[in-house]
Symmetry: C2
Subunit: 210 residues, 2 copies
């Protein structure tokens, strides 16, 4: 950081590298990510990457953190603008699906891909992914708990079950979309909509589905 608050050159480089590495890792896999290819598409040298990260693994961890930041900005934060309760739960679900629906992201969901890539490879990377997954499930559960507390959902509702169903519908959508097309997002929306409508004390809190 310079004295007038501007970013150092290195900081700008790191951000540019991670911005480019994230889609590459989403497409080729976090392990299949090639440092040579990454450097080439950025117009810098491969050895130059090692001036910012000591190893490929260190860069991979940085990519995970970068993806998490993007997830927070694009899914969680917009969803949190909805009023507390079932509307907020729905907003997060809808926002997540919308994030992938138009297909502007090559490779689909980074976290889904990475979790499946590493679910049989113990190590630092899987640990970092596991933390993200745990936190995300805890967040979804807290949304469901909130919805019960404010009276949007019936008291006997299973908050963890709602969270699991929400997550499963989202994950399946990003898996099937490249093969089966946009209908998967329709299913992912309708299924949770139906489920929440049954459990809701006031079904009008949920938007109409086309």
């Amino acid at each position: 950081m310079t004295e007038d608050g501007r970013l150092l050159r290195g900081e700008r480089t790191r951000t540019a590298v991670l911005d480019r590495a994230l889609p590459l890792a989403t497409t080729a896999g976090l392990d299949g990510l090639s440092l040579g290819q990454l450097a080439d598409t950025l117009g810098i040298s491969k050895s130059g990457l090692f001036a910012h990260w000591r190893s490929k693994e260190a860069l991979q961890l940085a990519v995970i953190d970068h993806a998490r930041q993007q997830w927070t900005d694009e899914v969680i934060r917009p969803g949190m603008t909805a009023p507390r309760g079932v509307r907020r739960l729905w907003a997060v679900h809808d926002r997540r699906l919308a994030f992938y629906e138009d297909g502007h992201l090559p490779g689909g969901c980074f976290f889904a891909n990475a979790n499946f890539e590493y679910n049989a490879r113990p190590g630092v990377i899987r640990d970092r992914l596991a933390v993200q997954l745990s936190d995300w499930m805890a967040f979804l559960t807290s949304l469901a708990t909130d919805a019960i507390e404010v009276g949007d959902l019936r008291p006997e509702t299973d908050a963890a079950g709602i969270a699991y169903e929400t997550e499963s519908l989202g994950v399946c959508a990003v898996m099937q979309a490249p093969v089966l097309g946009p209908v998967t997002f329709r299913h992912a929306r309708h299924a949770l909509h139906e489920h929440l409508r049954v459990l809701a004390t006031d079904p009008t809190l949920l938007p109409e589905l086309t």
Copy 2:
């Protein structure tokens, strides 16, 4: 094939190779599968593999077909022994979960891993995986349609929606199990159980869940 019906030596070798390649590909990825490592663990030479498959890609396709055969034997066929209707749909769901629940398969579900690995990589392999996924979803849908036809599920039930929900619960379970443990299988069972119970004309067709 010899005249008395025994397998040729090559046929035995091919089966042994695929038996070993399937767990390796499930763990390291279909692309990450190393021919050298595969040959080493089998006690044969790397070049010997090329006597049976012309390229790595050809072997990868064979692995997919092998996995599909295993899936048919271990999930579909046992599930089909249940009586037609909602009990058969439930049996397939339960059988699929049980197949992964005890963790005797290193790397989780081959098809889930492979689909996420290749969902952004067009080509012969993704095409083969897409056929498998389409067929599987069509199979699940046909089970739901059957259940409606025999009167187990209410006539207005959305068969494709049931199929999508069944698949999503299963996929999410194999993704989360290594991180969150067996509770994910409990969620996957309870969610579909609850859903089917609501839609069933006779809830007693479904087994009690512990």
